[in-house]
């Protein structure tokens, strides 16, 4: 186990964490402002991935395909908000969970009808296929590096929009007292649609970036969604800062656990036992982490104020 290998896995962890953050940010914004649990957030991730794959195949250009995928995710997200979710803001979380569960079934099956159940694999354009040399003996794929850079840029942009702009001010005001914001003459329904669309774009971005790394298939959204729940529970719901910290922690713990838990266990117990226990324990690691965090801080690491 060389330092280069550990460093590379650490970067993979950050890359996974960044994608979890893009998902968690949208989910936590929607929850913080509309008090809405949206299980179908994973479907928007999936829709983004599929639309980008289809648009890339259609235009023959990766960047153009990605842009069309984002636009598609925005449109689908806003349509879902207007058609189905808008009536559910005043309902309790139970109804929201069930209705968005219905949305998941619908989208997974719709995607299977259009593109089939088999996983789609996409190829990267030539300029994204190479590796960069970080230091002697350690190379890292350019594409994964790009994912990290894009994710961190989005995090900074998100921080800027929420804390330094007028729309961010409205978002924060809506989170703390929506009745008052509406009374001050702000079109709160439109604001909701904008925020939801914004979350959909972030989910779509995560999805289309995930396409070339993981398989694009029906149900891919729920795989990541449940890990995003872990992120949000650890970070504290409604808090973007918590989402960033939680996402990076979960991404790194999960990736390092999958890479190194088995060999590490092998040094303590017999290799055959480690062969069986390693993968099982690695896949449970983030949930155990969540349980520990909750036992210490039931509201998560960064509980949002005023709620």
């Amino acid at each position: 186990m060389t330092f280069g290998l550990v460093f590379e896995q650490l970067l993979n962890g950050v890359q996974f964490g960044v994608m979890l953050f893009l998902m968690a940010a949208g989910l936590t914004l929607v929850f913080g402002i509309m008090n809405m649990v949206n299980l179908a957030h994973g479907s928007l991730y999936m829709v983004g991935a599929y639309l980008a794959v289809a648009a890339t195949a259609w235009t023959g250009n990766f960047v153009l395909g990605a842009a069309l995928g984002l636009a598609g995710a925005l449109l689908v997200g806003m349509a879902v908000e207007v058609v189905a979710l808008r009536t559910l803001y005043e309902r309790d979380h139970l109804d929201q969970v069930l209705a968005t569960f219905g949305l998941i079934l619908f989208f997974n099956e719709l995607v299977a009808i259009v593109w089939g159940r088999a996983a789609l694999y996409t190829s990267l354009p030539a300029w994204l296929q190479g590796h960069v040399e970080l230091f002697t003996g350690s190379r890292y794929p350019i594409y994964r590096g790009l994912v990290i850079v894009v994710g961190l840029l989005v995090a900074v942009a998100l921080w800027y929009v929420v804390t330094r702009t007028r729309i961010g001010m409205l978002i924060r005001a809506g989170a703390s007292n929506r009745t008052m914001v509406a009374a001050l003459g702000v079109n709160i329904r439109f604001l909701y649609t904008v925020v939801f669309g914004f979350g959909a774009v972030l989910a779509g971005l995560a999805g289309l970036m995930a396409g070339p790394i993981y398989a694009v298939q029906p149900g891919m959204g729920e795989l990541i969604l449940i890990q995003v729940f872990v992120v949000i529970v650890i970070g504290g719901i409604g808090s973007i800062r918590g989402a960033l910290v939680g996402a990076l922690v979960v991404g790194i713990v999960d990736t390092l656990g999958r890479a190194f838990l088995k060999p590490l266990l092998g040094t303590v117990i017999s290799p055959t036992a480690a062969e069986a226990a390693g993968p099982a324990l690695a896949s449970m690691l983030i949930y155990l982490l969540m349980a520990v965090v909750l036992a210490v801080r039931p509201e998560g690491l960064f509980p949002s104020r005023g709620r």
């Binding site: 929850f31 649990v37 189905a84 009536t87 559910l88 309902r91 979380h93 139970l94 109804d95 969970v97 069930l98 209705a99 569960f101 219905g102 949305l103 998941i104 079934l105 619908f106 989208f107 997974n108 099956e109 719709l110 299977a112 009808i113 729920e222 449940i226 729940f229 872990v230 949000i232 529970v233 719901i237 069986a276 993968p279 099982a280 896949s283 449970m284 949930y287 155990l288 969540m290 349980a291 909750l294 036992a295 039931p298 509201e299 998560g300």
Partner: protein, 313 residues
């Protein structure tokens, strides 16, 4: 206090279910026996969830975990040659209760949306545990070659005998949860649901009551898991898949929360609609999804609210 309408309704339900096997045998349609048995097994799971979700206000999105644990206990014991149901079923119930104790102890410290996400996440953890256990078939699961043996008392390989056993257990579960909900224990549970601050103010400590209810619900659902494993003669991690949890939860909501007949009605309607749609098109979920959304938006009190003698709230 059983009203006349209630007595009439339940007598009709029991009569119908008791008379089904001879009717099905006369019509030579064994498929329906299978379907109704499956419905009743899921009704046990749904009624156990109703105890914590309906009466306790704990929205558990991970109830399929106990279905899986109960099923895996039966499957694993059968794999190692222990076929006695007297051993398998109590162990299935006990293991589910223990898992519920561990999950509940952490989850019940939180509430609202956290509770939903945490129960979901723990169940997902167990799902991945099932997937990664290659000894027990991993992703594909394993076949249960011999069903649970009850010293020749009940033969589960006989569809009709198994049907009546499930019927008795389901009626027992419905009765148990109804009695629990109307006992002093259930009163505390419901009081804590409707106003936690007030129930604390009169000197109750909801945590332990909630945890006890959570464990009872887990144990009962473990029994449903043992039944389901015997029903399908197969066990896979899919028993614990999160869509399974969603389905059980939907049965409770569709039937009507905190009502005694609700979970049964919900299980009947959801599974029958699923079966009908699946017989019609491979892509039945694309229809079921919007149906779920519509029923949430327009059907707020559930099916039991439409029954004769239903009370408000």
């Amino acid at each position: 206090m059983p009203s006349r309408a209630r007595v009439l309704f339940w007598s009709a339900v029991v009569l119908l279910l008791v008379l089904l096997p001879p009717v099905v045998a006369a019509l030579k349609q064994p498929f329906y026996l299978d379907l109704v048995r499956r419905v009743m097994i899921f009704a046990i799971a749904a009624v156990s969830l109703n105890l914590i979700l309906g009466y306790g206000g704990m929205v558990s999105f991970g109830h399929a975990a106990y279905l899986g644990i109960g099923g895996y206990v039966v499957g694993i014991l059968a794999l190692y040659g222990m076929h006695s149901g007297w051993l398998q079923w109590p162990l299935a119930i006990g293991a589910s209760a223990l898992a519920a104790l561990a999950i509940g102890a952490v989850s019940i410290r939180t509430s609202g949306i956290y509770f939903i996400m945490i129960t979901l996440a723990f169940t997902q953890m167990l799902y991945y545990l099932g997937v990664s256990l290659e000894v027990f078939g991993g992703d594909d699961g394993m076949r249960i070659k011999t069903r649970s043996q009850f010293s020749g008392l009940v033969d589960l390989a006989d569809p009709v005998a198994f049907y009546y056993l499930v019927l008795v257990l389901m009626l027992g579960s419905l009765y148990l949860v109804d009695r629990l909900a109307n006992s002093r224990f259930g009163m505390v549970l419901r009081a804590a649901k409707s106003n936690e601050a007030r129930s604390r103010a009169i000197g109750l400590s909801p945590y332990l009551y909630r945890l006890a209810a959570f464990v009872i619900a887990g144990a009962l659902c473990g029994l449903a898991g043992a039944l389901l494993a015997n029903h399908t003669a197969y066990i896979t991690p899919d028993f614990m898949h999160w869509t399974r949890s969603g389905e059980i939860m939907f049965m409770v909501i569709l039937g009507g929360v905190a009502s005694s007949a609700g979970p049964l009605l919900g299980a009947v309607v959801l599974l029958v609609v699923e079966t009908l749609l699946a017989g019609w098109t491979e892509h039945w979920q694309v229809i079921l999804g919007p149906l779920l959304i519509l029923s949430v938006i327009f059907f707020r009190r559930g099916l039991a609210g439409a029954l004769p003698g239903a009370r408000n709230g």
